[in-house]
């Protein structure tokens, strides 16, 4: 199949201690139904674990959901781990209970998009499509 015809590979997972995975699972299924290959890692992982999986799986985007409130530490730590592995270019999308005032901080730290609780599923899919596609295009041009 031609690369351009596929939506791409994305990682969906959770970092930190909160154990609610209904949201993440729902997004994983929605993305699959939209044609994505979804690497689902489950809950309670460290930023380093997620980064390592993203690298091995060579994903086109990482979607991390958090409800715990620890995003300001965990997400930058994950982006740092990605950079260490020469994978700082993989786009990161953060979803969940993120207070408005933290959004610009996360974006400063390299997060590509923040989707707060209540974002319509279609919007989430559109964001993933756009972000993953852009990354795939980039990968392709320098390949």
């Amino acid at each position: 199949m031609e690369a351009g015809q596929r939506r791409g590979r994305v990682l969906i997972g959770k970092v930190g201690l909160d154990g609610h995975d209904r949201g993440a699972k729902f997004i994983a299924r929605s993305l699959r139904d939209d044609g994505f290959e979804v690497i689902y890692t489950g809950i309670r992982h460290t930023p380093e674990e997620i980064a390592s999986v993203a690298v091995q799986e060579d994903v086109d985007a990482i979607g991390i959901s958090l409800l715990s409130g620890a995003h300001n530490e965990l997400i930058p730590a994950m982006i740092h781990a990605l950079c260490q592995a020469d994978a700082g270019d993989i786009p990161v999308i953060v979803g969940g209970a993120i207070p408005q005032e933290d959004i610009s901080y996360l974006k400063d730290k390299g997060v590509c998009e923040v989707l707060t609780t209540g974002t319509p599923t279609q919007t989430i899919l559109d964001v993933f499509r756009m972000v993953a596609n852009e990354y795939r295009q980039k990968k392709h041009t320098y390949e």
Binding site: M1, V38, T41, G42, I50, E57, D58
Partner: protein, 310 residues
Amino acid sequence: MNEIDGILKGIREGNPRTIGRAISAIEEGNHRAAAILQGINEGCVLAATILGITGPPGAGKSTLINQLISHYRIHGKRVGIVAIDPSSPVSGGAILGDRIRMMRHATDPGVIIRSMSTRGRVGGLCAAAGSAAKIMACSGCNPVIIETVGVGHLEIDIVGLADIVVFVLAPGFGDDVQAMKAGLIEMADVLVVNKADHAGADALIVDLKYATQGRDCQVCSTSATESRGIEDLANIIGNIAQRKRQTGQFIQKREKMLESEILHRAVELMRTKLKDRLMAQEEQIIGDPQDIVRKLLEEVCVTQLESKKR
């Protein structure tokens, strides 16, 4: 150093980013793929044992592989895993969830795991999985484990990719019968009754031992969640690998693998070409399917030849 040499060096050094990228290049069939594969050290590929682990959904394949990884890591071996899940026939998408059971090894530099979806292709998938296994072998992984769900025809192709085939069953599914019907058990070198902590495991073992009488097939039991029987299974696998290498069976099968890989690649190439051609047809297709097939094949082969000449 040119780009491909850089990639090959990264693979040999076990750089996860390079390995991940190289497998993608091969999966997508981009222009680097052929050069990477050509540059792969055949010696490493021959040195590595490729284990195919198959069996019905939910039998515990991924959980068992998780335990096998731990076992091999204790023995200082670098391990590669290619985990294949089916894609949705409707959307083409897939949830690749085998990895969840192996997250314990996520940051271990001695473990490389790659998930793949079938993407509705049988031949192409096998080619991609086989190539991914080669890249892992080239990075020093031995063994390389390929996980697939075994219920239809696909896994028979996977059987052709592996040096040793381990078929995993669990009591209480009735899958044993299904598997026997599908002839899968006949392809296996080892039958594992997993979930030995469940009732019915002993009876299943007896059944399987009876069914495999007189055949070169070992039966053993494990409890992947309780980490029991893993050592035995690894020893059985190790002994089979050693014996197959000594008797020359190993090399014979590798030669056959090459043939089937070429066939798979050719079929996959043709399939996309045929499909494109068919889709490109402006007017509605009518008439005898057999005639149409003949014409289609001719057309595709002619354009292929012409593009070669140019």
